[in-house]
Every structure is written in C-alpha cells, then in structure tokens.
C-alpha cells in the first residue's frame, strides 16, 4: 500500500514536471511572438472540459472566449470554458471557480488564459498561462487528484492541494507564496518547493534557494506588503482605508502608519476589535497621540498591593509593537483633521495581571481622547483618578474620555480578568460609567447614552455568569 502511494505521488510529480515543461514551452512561443495565436499552442488534454464560473468581479475586467473573439466586460455568474482569457485594470480583480474545488483570482493589471481545465475520471488537469500579473490559486484537494500549473514567461508554479500565489511582472523578480501546503516553483533552471504540507505562510522569490533564502534577504519585514499582514491587521487597515485613511510606512519607527480617516464611533467599536484582549485609544482632534500598554503579569489584586511593575511594554513602532506574550500594535495612527485610533491587542491567549493603558501626546492641537478595553469582546472597567465630591480619588469606568494637550501623558489601570471586588469598592466616574464617547456628527450623545449604558450593563451581566466566554462566542467582526 505504501509503495503504491509513493508510486502514485512519483507519477503525479512526473506529470506535473512534464506539464510545467510543456506549458513553459508554449509560453516561450507566445512570448517570442505575442501576436501569434495562443490557440495554436493550446492543446487541451483529453477528458471532460470543466466549466469556469465567474463569481466575483471588481473594477475593470474583461474576458474573451478565444483569440478571435472580442473582449467583453466580465460579470458575476458568467460561465467560461477552456481557452478563456481574462484581463484586469488597476484596482481590479476577478475570481473564478472551477467546480468543485478550485478557485483562482487574477488581481490588478494582469492577464491570464485558462489553457486547460479538464477532468478525466478522478484526475483534474488545469493550466493557467499568465502573461503578467498576480494570480492566487486555491485547491481544496479533497477527493480529486489535481495536476495544476500556473505558468508565466519566466516561472512556473505547480499546484497540488494548496493555496498559493504566483506574481510575475517585469521589472520585478517573480515570487510565489504558499499559504498552506506545498507547491513547486520553477524559475530559471531551478525548481524549489514553497511551503510544506499543513504548513503556514511561505514566500520564495525567484532566484533564491527557497523560503529560507527569501526570508534571509528580507530581514526587514515591511508590513506595507499585504501578504505580511495577519488577517486581523489586514481587516483593521481595511477599515481605516474605508474611512479615507492613507496607509504608509515609517522606515524609522519600522511600523505601518495611518493618516487621515477618523476614529470608530462607539457603536462601531465592538464590531471591529480583533483580539481576545483589546486596548483602544481614540481621539477626535487634529493631533498625533500614541497608545502605550504595560503589562504586569500575575494576580491583579496582588500586583496592585505590590505596586505596578511593567514587565512587558507595547508602543507603536521602534520594535516595541510586539510583546513576548503575544500583544501587538498593528499600526501607528499619526492622526488627521478628524482624529485617529490606535489599538493594541492579543490575538490568542493573554496573560492575567494588571495592565496599564496610557496615551502620549506627540504633536498637534489639544484634543480629547477615549480609552476602551475589551476582554473576550466585553468591556472592562478601567481605574483612574478623578474628582469626586470635591476630592481626587480612584474611580472606574468602561469608557474613559479626557482632554489631553501638548507634553501631557495620561493613563489608567485595568485588571485582567475583571475583579468584582474592585468593581464593588471603587465608585463609578462621576462623568458617567461609561463616559461619553465618540459618536457621529449630529447624533446627540444624550440620546445615545441609554444604549451605551445598556451595553455596559449587559456586559457586566455577562461577566457575572459563571460560564467561560470563549473567543468563538465573541460578536462577529
């Protein structure tokens, strides 16, 4: 049985290599004479041709069913077949599904031809020829034996039950990415494996000896590059972009920067927090504020008695955006006319202990800032000093809003997990628990307060339940 399996794998590998060579030859012919008919190079394999369903179109995308056919605008639900050619413009993409388990996406400024898409019994053969551009190919790989390649003028990616990307666009070196599984990447006269079975993100540039060589050559990880972002960071930045922010990269502080845009409103915030523990700083004025989070792991009550000891520290940039226990700040918001928002979060488990959340005024005009802390999607009480009955004393609130000006720093303490003893003995902030937050222009904060209070009361009720709140129980992002 084992030898049979090995033999089948060996045969499949051989077929993939042969297909790669054939496809490379066909493409070389096309590259040599782009005006020549690619159809002449097309030799569809034997078997049943498979249908190709267009499932998503963004921006300017056109398709044609053959070289002698006119280009027409692509629309979702169109059905294509072998020989179809796709092309995209800037800011555009098209996603197609080859049932039952293959999906490919051609994004900005590329052109791809579906050279082969045939099924012969349990075997599926798919060849995409990409003149230039970037193609994402995902094969679920369950049940069928796949022999799939993406071929470009200078490289070939053999795909089998994996989730991969091939990008080939002059004047840049081609590269391939494997999100899961292993693919075979041929560039020049060398073939390397990208990724591993059940592996995670792996990237290989053409001309390197694989992912390790690529990783070494990219010792400075630039988060500007989309694929180096985690899904959580990508979602956060997508939200910022949707609000009109401009994404950039600060090579000095070594972190992605966001300018412009606006902070989340109170109603939006619970739906955008990405982690199991989230610290959010929002502000509304034209200023640049920075979020700081310190961690004193251990029992929160004991740590309060012993005094806060900063064991871990998070800050946007300068190598401090990641902490040993998994805390992360994805970007530095440098503000704009409508304010800004920064977030620190733990995507998985987070340490128990006493946390400090702070805001540092960097530049700009005096503004008000708002702190929020969420554990497993539920707001957590913050403890800070405020004037109550004519005395300055410790108060609590799940949302703290205060003014801040040049040269100032402000902070609060947070017990994780929430300590009911502290909640009982420390009074609410006289400005309200929660404090008024950030709401859309024109919306009366007084009108919104009942809803905010209800949210806070609901959160406290949930915290009093004995059942553990798992990350899966968090509200959808």
């Amino acid at each position: 049985m084992r030898s049979t399996l090995i033999y089948r794998h060996f045969c499949a590998l051989g077929l993939i290599c042969m297909a790669s060579v054939c496809a490379s030859s066909a493409l070389a012919s096309n590259a040599a004479a782009t005006s020549a008919s690619p159809a002449a190079a097309s030799q569809p394999g034997s078997g049943t041709p498979m249908r190709i369903d267009v499932v998503s179109v963004t921006g300017l995308v056109q398709i044609r069913t053959g070289d002698d056919q006119p280009w027409v605008s692509a629309m979702p639900h169109m059905v294509l077949s072998e020989g179809a050619e796709l092309r995209t413009g800037p800011h555009s993409s098209i996603t197609c599904v080859i049932p039952p388990d293959q999906t490919f996406t051609l994004d900005r400024l590329g052109t791809v031809r579906v050279q082969d898409a045939v099924r012969n019994g349990n075997k599926v053969k798919t060849d995409l020829i990409m003149k230039y551009g970037r193609t994402h190919y995902d094969i679920e790989g369950a049940g069928l034996e796949h022999q799939a390649t993406i071929t470009s003028p200078s490289s070939t990616l053999a795909v089998r039950g994996t989730d991969v990307v091939l990008c080939d666009q002059v004047p840049f070196t081609p590269y391939s990415i494997s999100y899961t599984g292993r693919a075979s990447f041929t560039y020049g006269h060398s073939t390397i494996n990208v990724g591993s079975k059940h592996g995670s993100y792996s990237k290989a540039n053409g001309g390197t000896d694989g992912s390790a060589g690529t990783g070494l050559s990219e010792t400075v990880v630039d988060p500007r590059y989309a694929a180096s972002l985690t899904a959580s960071d990508a979602a956060l930045l997508a939200t910022e972009v949707a609000r009109g922010a401009v994404i950039s990269y600060n090579p000095v502080s070594g972190i992605q920067t966001v300018s412009g845009g606006r902070p989340s409103y109170d109603s939006e915030l619970p739906g955008t927090i990405p982690g199991t523990l989230d610290f959010v700083l929002r502000w509304t004025g034209n200023a640049n504020l920075n979020l700081e989070v310190g961690v004193d792991p251990g029992d929160p009550l004991t740590n309060i008695l012993n005094g806060f000891q900063k064991v871990e520290f998070l800050y946007p940039g300068y190598g401090l955006q990641n902490s040993p226990s998994g805390g992360h700040i994805p970007y530095d918001d440098i503000g704009g006319p409508l304010g800004g928002e920064e977030i620190a979060y733990w995507p998985g488990s987070h340490p128990s202990g006493l946390y400090g959340i702070g805001v540092q005024f960097i530049t700009g005009l005096p503004t008000s800032y708002t702190f929020n802390v969420y554990e497993n999607g539920q707001p957590v009480e913050m403890f800070y000093f405020a004037t109550l009955d004519g005395f300055t004393q410790l108060v609590k609130s799940t949302q703290q809003t205060r003014p801040i000006g040049p040269g100032q720093f402000a902070g609060s303490l947070v017990a994780i997990p929430d300590q009911q003893l502290l909640d009982l003995i420390i009074p609410d902030d006289p400005a309200g628990n929660p404090n008024p937050g950030i709401n859309p222009p024109g919306a009366s904060s007084a009108a919104l307060m009942p809803a905010v209070r209800a949210l806070a009361i609901g959160a406290r009720t949930v915290r009093q339940q004995p059942a553990t709140i798992t990350p899966a129980a968090r509200p959808p992002k």
């Binding site: 230039y132 989309a226 994404i247």
Partner: protein
C-alpha cells in the same frame, strides 16, 4: 555626441494618439494598459495618461498639454516640467509624480528640498515600487504597467490581499 547620448529615446507612435486607446470607457482603458505592456518604450504622454487613469479612473484631458497642466495644477508634476510628449518617460520625472501622488514624505533631503527626480527615484526604490534604477533610465511598456501594479499594492495593500484571498 555626449549631448546626443544623453537624450532620451523617442516614441514614434503614441497610444494616446488614437481613440481606441485614449478613451475613458472600460474597453479603451483596458486596451491601453494591455497594449502598452507590449511596447518597447513608454512615452511621456502615455505615462501621464496612465497616471491619470490610475489616480482618477479617467483622463478628461484630450491632449498632452492638458495632461501636463492637470498634473501641474494638482501639484503632482513640478512647474518646471516641460518634456516633449513623444520622449520616453524618465524614471526620475515619473518618480516625482508618484511620490507626490502617494504622499511619500521621504528622507531629510525631500523634506528640505521637496521631491526631486534623484531622491524621489531612490525613495521609490526603497519603497519597492521601483526596481533599482537611476532617474535617467526609461521604462518599457511592461515595466510601466508593473510599476503601476506596485502602486496599487502600496496604496491598497489590504485590498490587494483581500481580493487575492
């Protein structure tokens, strides 16, 4: 001879001369990008047309002079820019327009002196939008299309990743 050697190449037939490639409809735009990718050189006129298409999704300027005026009025091109339409685009000139478009602040030289071809080019190389280049080099059509693709990645990394996934 030295002066002749330093001159940039000329592009004989610009794509923007025909309505098939210079219109604002989807067909003309895609024809322009994918025909340009087959050209040996990109002219100033083609590059500025492409830049306007990328930035605005359309180019309402019918002539090269209007394109230059439009880009100058938006601060993307320096006021001193006066290259002929049929000259091949210099990477430095295009770099100035791109750093202005992307609001790339650059290092101290660009902060002090503004975007200049030499430093704008170096900044784009650093940002991985340009390949290692000198500002005097030109772009082939395919290279220009590749750089525009990189602009997309730079400006919308999340969108690119989301669509790719």
């Amino acid at each position: 001879m030295v002066c002749a050697g330093c001159q940039t190449a000329h592009v004989n037939s610009s794509l923007t001369a025909t309505t098939r490639f210079s219109g604002n409809n989807a067909d003309a735009q895609l024809n322009f990008w994918h025909e340009l990718a087959t050209r040996h050189l990109t002219s100033n006129d083609e590059a500025l047309h492409g830049l306007l298409l990328y930035a605005d999704g359309r180019d309402d300027a019918n002539t090269y002079d209007k394109r230059v005026a439009t880009l100058k009025s938006r601060g993307l091109l320096p006021a001193s820019f006066s290259e002929p339409a049929d000259d091949a685009i210099r990477r430095g000139d295009l770099a100035v327009a791109i750093v202005n478009l992307l609001e790339i602040k650059g290092g101290w030289v660009m902060h002090v002196f503004g975007a200049m071809p030499r430093y704008a080019c170096r900044e784009l190389v650093y940002a991985d939008i340009y390949p290692p280049s000198s500002p005097q080099q030109t772009f082939s059509g395919a290279e220009f299309v590749g750089v525009i693709g990189k602009l997309d990645d730079y400006q919308q990394p999340v969108v690119a990743d989301a669509t790719a996934r």
